[in-house]
């Protein structure tokens, strides 16, 4: 009889292990929350792509805005392009593009071909602001409120789903 208990030990250890893995899987937040959420947007100063002026983080204060990191080299940016366009055209929020690690001529061609949805395009060819924002791949999208605080971040492409379920409710909330 005693032997059966000994034989049960491996199974018991294993059950504890699986329970731990399961708990971890359900609590583990796979979308690493950007440490910048709730913090002011890092200071920047950038040339714009078309209007030939220099814009800083101060210039957008007063109303919420969306910062969309893109590049002409990035197929996923092209994928989300119609959605960005629709969002900008809806007039619910100002959409600013951050043209990241690109060439001005390529970016221009890309925007001419697919259309330019952006209210303004910042040029970050050195990638400085992208580094400060913790960008690790295009596209990424940041929602910033009227005081210049980062409210939300989406890594990867925008989709109908994350726009309607995540972005729009937040935009409504901070626009009040």
């Amino acid at each position: 009889m005693k032997k059966i208990w000994v034989a049960l030990i491996p199974l018991a250890v294993f059950i504890i292990l699986v329970a731990l893995l399961f708990v971890n899987l359900s609590t583990h937040n796979e979308v690493l929350p950007s440490p910048l959420i709730g913090k002011p947007i890092p200071a920047f100063e950038h040339q714009t792509l078309y209007s030939n002026q220099t814009i800083t983080h101060e210039d957008f204060k007063g109303e919420p805005w969306l910062l969309n990191v893109f590049g002409s080299w990035c197929p996923s940016c092209q994928y989300e392009h119609p959605l960005v366009t629709a969002l900008a055209n809806s007039g619910r929020i100002k959409v600013i593009g951050l043209n990241w690690k690109d060439e001005a001529s390529d970016a221009d061609q890309w925007l001419k071909r697919w259309g330019n949805p952006y209210h303004e395009i910042l040029v970050d060819y050195e990638g400085d602001t992208a580094i400060n924002l913790g960008v690790y791949g295009a596209p990424e999208t940041f929602l910033i409120d009227a005081t210049g605080t980062i409210v939300y971040k989406i890594s990867g492409v925008l989709t109908q789903k994350n726009i309607s379920q995540e972005l729009l409710p937040l935009i409504d909330k901070i626009s009040l």
């Binding site: 049960l8 491996p10 893995l21 971890n24 899987l25 609590t27 197929p75």
Partner: protein, 647 residues
């Protein structure tokens, strides 16, 4: 079109695996020979189907069919052909398909090379392998289908991760999979034995060959991974205790314990339950490793795009395989009761001690790997790294190194500890003398390096003596063991030297400047821009010389892959028997062309991998061990005598 055929074949494979899982096993329980006979043909069919599916996926990459999501996500028009082929297993979906294909290959091999087993044994083993294949095929089909279509198809793909555009990457995963999956054979055998309620020497001997082969593959896979990390990641390290590295190391440790215990249980009716349990643990750790890598529970350079559904899926598979096997173990293990007594002063005891050391190491490293997850579950973030693993492993390997020669020295069945120790004593002094010499020759060694070097000499010296003194003609088993043990010695020496006597310098260099590191002169001749295949690179030129004699010109690169927007550091290495000269580019500091340059001197680093290859060679040599009839009869006589109490 090809994608649809692939999809269809995948479904057919799953159906075949389900039939393989059910029919022969039912045949076993109903004692229906016709049903049991289906096991072998079904195995061959399963292999044919999965291999064809896999080749179809390869052809999609070669033909650059960007309507397939997996293809455009991981290749591009500019990607050279050889990397288009390897991109097939460069990411999650394809690599799981490869896993299944390799497993089907093992199933077919088991079906082919199992003539020495009875039909009821073969049908059970193949059925259990069918259970595993079914689970993973379902995983491919429902949670990671590589044949998914994107409509409309993009014009160009995203390109393969530059880190994976490399020769080491081409062969590292397949080797590891061969090892991982090979352990499923030992696992199936253990489960089949538990189902039948009995296991005999012949069966263990048969399974031992498969375990040895799987272990050899696993060893090569790990060495390749280490080598790849060394030259590709650009920081000159060779092992990082990264969770995914641990995931491959854990089954290796458990399998090492297993092959040593099998050496006993194939000879004697002893340690039967322990053998079965170790086989279950070893394969369960493979599945656990897969879970850790694929679920996104941990963050690591190896983690593929995380997906909780996949995590749950693999966790369920793990629960079914390991949970089922361990339940069966709890119910049946007492039927496998070992009847032979083991003498305390014998090789058997030493091999048991070996398995305990290795299984303790396994759980120590498993705990370290899981600790961050335990804390994560409590809402804290911690990371466990080199200091914990390095120290624990060092401490656990001390008894291993001390006892290994003793185990090899003691005879089977019954011997005297004092005689064995007496025979080994001279080698203790030889090793001590050599270590002292090394201490002064290499201009002092720290504690861990001294211990490691001593361990290396101690094992080498005793192994050589045991080879010289071996009575009669050495059999393959003995040669294999000696080669593998000498490999451990070589590894220990190389590792201790690399870890503790390396030189790492980060220097700011102006074009034309010469710096001296470790007796070598490094002249920096500036950086030029080059454009190769699908990347551009800044290529440095560094002339290495010693006492005015030119040795080599090294050309480390800072690569940039436009598609992936990813910079990559490609080190250039001048390999050598006693020393690697390793140069990589840091960052450009200013417009005058000054660069931060990393110069590493890595003594004896090749010895480490060479030692690993020797261990692998040992396992392969041992495959050719044929125990002749006479020996076997002698052994039976010996065991019978012991049982009857005459000696």
């Amino acid at each position: 079109m090809i994608a649809s055929i692939g999809q269809f074949l995948l479904i057919l494979s799953l159906v075949t695996a389900v039939v393989l899982m059910l029919v022969p096993m039912t045949g076993y329980f109903q004692n229906n020979e016709r049903m049991m006979r289906t096991a072998r043909p079904l195995s061959y069919l399963l292999f044919t189907l999965t291999l064809t599916t896999f080749l179809l996926l390869v052809s999609l990459f070669v033909l650059q069919d960007f309507s397939v999501t997996y293809v455009w996500q991981h290749s591009s028009l500019a990607l050279p052909l050889r990397y288009r082929i390897t991109a097939t297993w460069g990411a999650h979906e394809g690599s799981v398909l490869m896993w299944v294909t390799v497993q089907a290959l093992w199933i077919a091999a088991v079906a082919r090379y199992s003539r020495s087993l009875s039909l009821s044994q073969v049908s059970r083993v193949l059925s259990v392998l069918g259970v595993i294949a079914t689970g993973f095929l379902a995983f491919v089909l429902f949670a990671s289908n590589p044949f998914e279509i994107t409509n409309p198809a993009p014009l160009d793909g995203r390109d393969l991760n530059p880190l994976l555009q490399d020769f080491g990457m081409i062969i590292h995963p397949p080797m590891l999979y061969f090892g991982y999956v090979g352990l499923s054979v030992a696992f199936s055998l253990a489960v089949a034995a538990l189902i039948g309620g009995q296991i005999d020497e012949k069966w263990i001997r048969w399974s031992r060959r498969w375990t040895n082969l799987a272990w050899a593959f696993l060893t090569v896979g790990i060495i390749l991974g280490s080598w790849w990390a060394y030259y590709e990641l650009g920081w000159g390290g060779w092992w990082f205790w990264d969770p995914v590295e641990n995931a491959s190391f854990l089954p290796w440790l458990a399998a090492t314990a297993l092959i040593h215990v099998q050496a006993v249980s194939e000879r004697k009716n002893a340690f039967r339950g322990w053998t079965v349990l170790l086989a279950i643990i070893a394969f369960s750790l493979c599945v656990l490793g897969t879970f850790l890598v694929r679920s996104g529970s941990i963050t690591s350079v190896h983690s593929f795009a995380a997906d909780p559904f996949r995590g749950i899926f693999i966790l369920v598979l793990l629960a079914i395989y390991a949970g089922g096997a361990l339940t069966l173990y709890a119910l049946r293990v007492n039927q496998l009761r070992s009847r032979d007594n083991i003498n305390l002063e014998s090789r058997e005891t030493m091999l048991l001690a070996n398995s305990l050391i290795f299984i303790t190491s396994t759980f120590t490293i498993l705990l370290g790997t899981l600790f961050p997850m335990i804390f994560d579950a409590m809402g804290k973030k911690i990371s466990v790294g080199e200091p914990y693993f390095g120290l624990m492993f060092f401490l656990l390997m001390i008894p291993m190194a001390v006892l290994m020669p003793l185990g090899a020295q003691l005879k089977w069945h019954k011997d005297q500890m004092s005689t064995a120790i007496k025979a080994l004593t001279p080698h203790f002094f030889i090793a001590a003398a050599l270590t002292t010499a090394a201490y002064f020759f290499f201009d002092t060694l720290n504690l861990r390096a001294t211990a490691g070097v001593f361990g290396g000499f101690w094992i080498a010296s005793t192994s050589v003596a045991q080879i010289i003194k071996f009575p009669g003609k050495p059999n393959a088993g003995f040669v294999g063991m000696s080669v593998a043990h000498l490999g451990v010695a070589v590894f220990l020496f190389g590792m201790s030297m690399t870890e503790h006597k390396d030189i790492e310098k980060d220097i700011l260099m102006q074009p034309g400047q010469t710096s001296t590191v470790g007796g070598y002169d490094f002249t920096f001749n500036g950086v030029t821009q080059v454009s190769i295949e699908n990347y551009q690179a800044q290529q440095g030129s560094i002339q290495v010389s010693k006492n005015g004699h030119d040795i080599v010109e090294l050309n480390p690169q800072k690569r940039f892959y436009p598609k992936q927007q990813q910079p990559m550091t490609e080190a250039d290495i001048h390999p050598g028997l006693t020393k690697d000269i390793y140069v990589s580019l840091g960052e450009q500091i200013n417009q005058e062309g000054d660069w931060a340059v990393r110069i590493y001197l890595k003594p004896f680093i090749r010895w480490m991998w060479f030692g690993g290859l020797m261990m692998m060679a040992g396992a392969v040599i041992a495959l050719f061990n044929r125990r002749n009839k006479r020996q076997e009869r002698q052994q039976v006589d010996h065991v019978m005598k012991e049982r009857l109490g005459i000696s």
